[in-house]
Symmetry: C2
Subunit: 347 residues, 2 copies
């Protein structure tokens, strides 16, 4: 089959690789209908996260089950399924608690020896623990299929951030980061009943989506000017719930600065740099909490799925460029240069 | 009156200072019956927190109301009262929410221009918002009075840490720090229903109190050996709730290392050093939360007071040395040299 591989920074290729097959009785093989490129894939693309030459890539996909191992009970050939961005066994303590990202037998798509989502097909370990079935008729609804793909990562990650930030009915929320995750954070906050949602971002194409997703205010300033703007919008106090969807020291510093005393930062931007963006003394004096991390998306799909199916939430606008599999390298380039927000792949 | 002052590092004095009087109609003056020395006072004593020469000190006290301003409605002369370690107006948004430490009109005892607890009397601003009345007959019960004094800081701070750590019925809790706050954290965790409480500490006099307060296990090792010991006690996973009651980079590093994935660190040790003890990448991968800060003790006194009065909790064993007011400088020396755990002052 054809699949995307990464050979060096900025050297993405689409190549012939072995067809995936059922290896363990708990595996299924999924034929990919939709995949996409994630902001976190760009860390590998830019060489800031190490990869072995030829390693697969892509951790978001949905598709049709093509073959199932003898011990798989939940899926059969022909099922439409979505995969969260990690696989997990579904039986350990952590899986039982809904923290599948900590499953000792879990792993990331595209890690050495595994298939990535940006290819024609994927061998899925622990299929019963990992995959979630979708209604078969969704396969013929292009818009819906795109919205459902967001459940593999960005929508669940935005939801995780909103939970970490403690968003509830009536909350005032600020969102740092105007990428797909930040935008999905807006959508998640709105879904949880936030009354006021302040989106920080300079790109009107993105902040327009934020407004469509429920943002009531947009702050286009950066740094201290942005902090001042959020304070002015919140009677000088800051936002009780802050979603941090970037992961840099600067964004963390902004998140702390715009938090209300007693508030919480829900952080889902993969941290680059240490904790030095966090001024613990400020957080201590103001009782600001930090909660988040890698989102256990698998736990959230059952909760979010009905709302996507009935249109209560529609994350599909975060995809603004569609490519075929051979167009994936160009998709990376477009996202790296910020001419695309998030690239949809139709193999 | 006589009161403790700090003139330079290691230069504590007991001197004649002006008698406090009602200045604002919302003030009361409290004659101090019991005060104490806090571990955080030692930062000033050691010169690690700056003080002006002659500044007052001490932020924990209880006593008898001697005079009340014309607008004070909750207290009259003769009332037995306990003060939390900050004063607060009792009327702002933050006070209404139980985050009195963020009251814009609040302040710390011993800050420039205010009285400290380690003296014969204290002028208390915003008395109605700040003080809590105690039963009059407690004044004649020496042991109970000492236990009630702990409500001014360490017991409420331990409770704040336990809440931040997410302690609930059945929790496995680890406590970093064997000072008075850490020990009160053990007591608070036990009170909240923790099933297993692992106290980290090397001083048997202290860990004996921890056991008396409800610790089920004691880990005397330090650093990586301590981390390994906690992992072994918890089936390799770590503790879901970690109380961090020290505030150094090393203690924060230990707290992260012994947290279970998905767990929470309740931190109440005043941070010295930046966030560099926090490895955000580790916290991110394992979904470890950080919650805490300066404890809004005023909010917790009404909840904890009945349990102290009926003996359900008795924090009085954290006081292991009693001095008169003239003995306060010696009390600092004893705590600094760790020959005393916490010094009780009877002016």
């Amino acid at each position: 089959m054809r699949a995307t591989t990464i050979h060096a920074p900025f050297d993405m290729r689409v190549e012939d690789v072995p067809d995936p097959v059922v290896q363990d009785p708990t595996d299924v093989v999924v034929r990919v209908l939709r995949a996409c490129v994630c902001g976190s894939d760009l860390w590998a693309y830019r060489g800031e996260s190490a990869r072995q030459p030829g390693q697969r890539i892509g951790h978001e996909f949905l598709g049709i089950v093509e073959a199932a191992g003898s011990e798989v009970t939940g899926f059969t050939a022909g099922d439409l399924v979505v995969a969260p961005f990690v696989w997990s066994d579904g039986t350990c303590d952590y899986c039982a608690e809904g923290l599948q990202t900590s499953c000792p037998r879990g792993g990331f798509w595209g890690s050495v020896g595994s298939d990535g989502g940006q290819g024609e097909a994927v061998r899925v370990p622990f299929a019963d623990g990992t995959l979630v079935k979708l209604p078969a008729d969704a396969a013929s609804d292009d818009r819906l299929l795109t919205a459902l793909l967001a459940l593999s990562d960005v929508m669940g990650t935005g939801h995780h951030a909103a939970l970490g930030a403690g968003v509830r009915a009536g909350s005032t929320v600020a969102v740092v980061g105007d990428g797909a995750v930040g935008l999905c954070g807006v959508l998640a906050a709105k879904r949880l009943g936030a009354e006021r949602i302040i989106a920080l971002g300079r790109h009107t194409a993105r902040t327009d989506i934020a407004r469509r997703f429920g943002a009531t205010d947009v702050v286009a300033e950066r740094g201290e000017a942005a902090e001042a703007a959020v304070r002015e919008l919140t009677g000088g106090q800051g936002a009780h719930a802050v979603i941090e969807a970037v992961g840099t020291e600067q964004s963390m510093r902004t998140a702390v600065a715009i938090s209300r005393d007693g508030g919480s930062i829900g952080y889902v931007g993969v941290p680059h740099g240490s904790g030095t963006g966090l001024d613990l003394s400020v957080m201590f004096d103001r009782n600001i909490a930090l909660r988040g991390g890698v989102a256990p998306v698998r736990a959230y799909i059952p909760e979010l799925l009905p709302d996507v199916l009935d249109g209560t939430i529609d994350p599909s606008p975060v995809f603004d460029l569609t490519v075929g599999l051979e167009g994936v390298p160009g998709g990376y380039k477009a996202m790296d240069e910020r001419t695309a927000l998030k690239v949809l792949v139709k193999p």
